[in-house]
Assembly symmetry: C2
Homo-oligomer: 416 residues x 2
């Protein structure tokens, strides 16, 4: 059975671009994983007519409609009233929602106020989805063969409800053949070069496989998808992917859809290695990439974010003569930073980054985008120079992190 | 004149949720700023029929259609061929695009390959928009009173073209009355409490003003919008906003739509203060928030990200007896970290954070979400304890950063 879904995000703040909609990607990814194809994905304002139109468009056409947003103490009226009208029922005080609201607020040392109290009114034709992370309950409706979910717009509230009340319900209700993807990751080769390197391999792919290139700064992910009607193909797709190994070698960094951070995490944990960092231009972003993964304290000891020269000397022991002679953005300083971090944190490995992230601060000899990354390990150190083109600060910081961790990955692998 | 636009993002990766679409928010924000209302905002796959439908839906109905994505060396065919067919013209080799491609690649030490070469073929009824940050050119078309832009999907390439070729063109072509918003920011008051506190103020707002609450973890932004037909109202809206000052006091942290990081940045620069940090649970994210703002090296000296106890002692001089007696997650350690950072970085102010970000690692006395933030300044130090509920790691890290910087902001203001 082929199941299709519409995803609609509600909120004026999305239509005027004040907020980036991450919810629809989260929902699309999960639906895709369980074998539901997303037919339409769009955003509308906090507007009864637009909500009605979304309902009219989906009901009877697709089996699933997921609405997110438009709920909350200050905006409830529009969405909930429109839903009640559309489904021909009334807003009614719901004691279970009220009880959950009370529990949620009292755990936070707060009591129910008028604004929250109205949140306990829900259309009496809805199945209520309790919200354990906020005050707006979710709702499930059904009409003409379409299941309609209305979920809060705050991402962590929405995600919890999605996992708890939406995905299991859909899996139980529909016979779902999952859509299979096999994604693997490359670093350091531009998309167009990659395409040429893989030309013969791509031409030899069987017709039931679709290939997609997903470039992001400094890396390209390759996604193989089994066309509809082909299931149980994951192992076969993995086998096809592995044939790129002789062509791409070390540029392949993961045989799944995972970040460079996770790859370094796994390497360190598997080999029982500890890691430290010394950052200048990445300004904490290098450490943040690793520490955003749960359990990173198992191997990650810390990072010295040294923006000033004084800090490089005080925390990492970089000699001030070295800074004067070569400047903070130089190979010797990248090296001294990595070596210093390894020493002060007493780690097995250390990685460093120093550069000019921009948009200003460049010079003719060291233009914006000049970056040195360094690695110090049990058997010595190495530094690489990169010239990132373009003066977009966050992109330069992001690419520097990628290249620093990639150098670390290659060094650890060589040290095996 | 009332101008409306559709924004359509193209890419299978968006429909399956592999990539979060940030482009449509960027475009919507800029269109809104110049007075163009976004009528529809949706995503489609790399599919000729879906692209044709998007064109059919927009042409003649709205004055502007912006397509983003579906271009690039490995996916050009579908979008460009579909556009050429729809507008009744041919793909043709474009020497200027080719010359720009050559310049772009040679600056990166690369030469044009076959894959790039096909990128120089563009529909001969399109006005070409040169891409200075990538290889896929943009295009502008016109049909039945609708201007159609096709822009690359890589965010920094799209953004550059938007600023250079789209916004100025639209401003010149249409008489645009800007839509006026005045946004201001509060921290630490939940949405429903804020709503009650502001009830009377809200009731007294004139009818041409629309109020919206935009909550995100730990903070709520308030947006006043002048209804269509009302222009030149910014000063008046500011005046209305200022009336919340006696009600909300220090919880108001900015009279514009700006982050807490930018607020701290401005405070430090205005008062000529230097800042350092000592991080445990925020793992570099505190420093990243400040260092992602260009020019932060003017006042930011660095951060000691100390994940291990050894590092807290080695880098910040936190006595090991203190760590043993109270544990790393405690008020005395938060204090010692801030005081230590201020000393080692020789800064005027220092802010610290230590806590249990989760999802694991809690205990009955110190559950996940237990967080201490500290501030050390010229006249002493202060620490605050927060209990963040929910075991979502990134959210806890994000809220800890917000509360740490907010404590710093309040301390600096008191010290005035």
């Amino acid at each position: 059975m082929h199941v299709e879904a519409d995803i609609v995000t509600i909120g004026d703040e999305i239509m005027i671009g004040q907020v980036v909609d991450t919810n629809s990607a989260t929902i699309a990814r999960r639906l895709n994983q369980i074998g539901i194809r997303v037919a339409a994905k769009y955003s509308i304002g906090d507007d009864p007519q637009a909500i009605r139109n979304a309902l009219l468009y989906a009901v009877g056409r697709v089996q699933v409609l997921i609405l997110t947003g438009g709920l909350g103490p200050t905006r409830d009226d529009i969405t909930k009233t429109t839903l009640a009208e559309f489904f021909g029922c009334q807003l009614e005080f719901n004691p279970e929602v009220y009880a959950q609201l009370e529990r949620y607020l009292s755990a936070r040392g707060r009591s129910i106020n008028e604004a929250n109290r109205t949140q306990a009114y829900v259309p009496n034709c809805a199945t209520v989805l309790q919200n354990f992370h906020g005050t707006a309950p979710g709702m499930r409706f059904e009409k003409e063969g379409t299941v309609i979910f209305s979920l809060p717009g705050v991402p962590h509230e929405m995600e919890d409800m999605l996992e708890k009340d939406v995905i299991p319900y859909l899996q139980e209700r529909f016979q779902l053949p999952p859509i299979e993807h096999f994604t693997f990751c490359t670093v350091g080769i531009p998309e167009s070069e990659l395409m040429l390197k893989l030309k013969d391999w791509e031409a030899a792919l069987p017709s039931w496989v679709k290939l997609a290139y997903l470039p992001s700064p400094g890396m390209v992910r390759l996604r193989l998808s089994a066309q509809p009607g082909h299931t149980g193909m994951l192992a076969k797709m993995r086998e096809l992917a592995l044939k790129t190994q002789p062509i791409l070698g070390e540029s392949l960094y993961a045989w799944s859809d995972q970040s460079m951070e996770q790859t370094v995490f796994d390497l360190c944990v598997d080999r029982n290695l500890t890691l430290a960092m010394a950052e200048s231009c990445t300004g904490g972003f290098l450490a943040h990439g690793i520490t955003s993964i749960p359990g990173s304290s198992r191997f990650f000891l810390g990072s010295a974010v040294t923006y000033s020269n004084q800090a490089k000397t005080a925390l990492l022991g970089v000699p001030s003569q070295l800074l004067e002679a070569h400047g903070a953005v130089s190979a010797p300083v990248a090296e001294a930073m990595a070596v210093g971090a390894r020493k002060v944190f007493q780690s097995d490995w250390a990685v460093s980054a120093t550069g000019i992230a921009g948009p200003d601060g460049g010079s003719p000899e060291k233009p914006v985008g000049t970056v040195y990354v360094g690695v110090a390990g049990p058997e010595g150190f190495v530094t690489h120079r990169h010239l990132l083109l373009g003066n977009q600060r966050l992109r330069n910081i992001q690419m520097t992190r990628l290249f620093a961790l990639d150098l670390l990955r290659r060094c650890i692998l060589k040290n095996a």
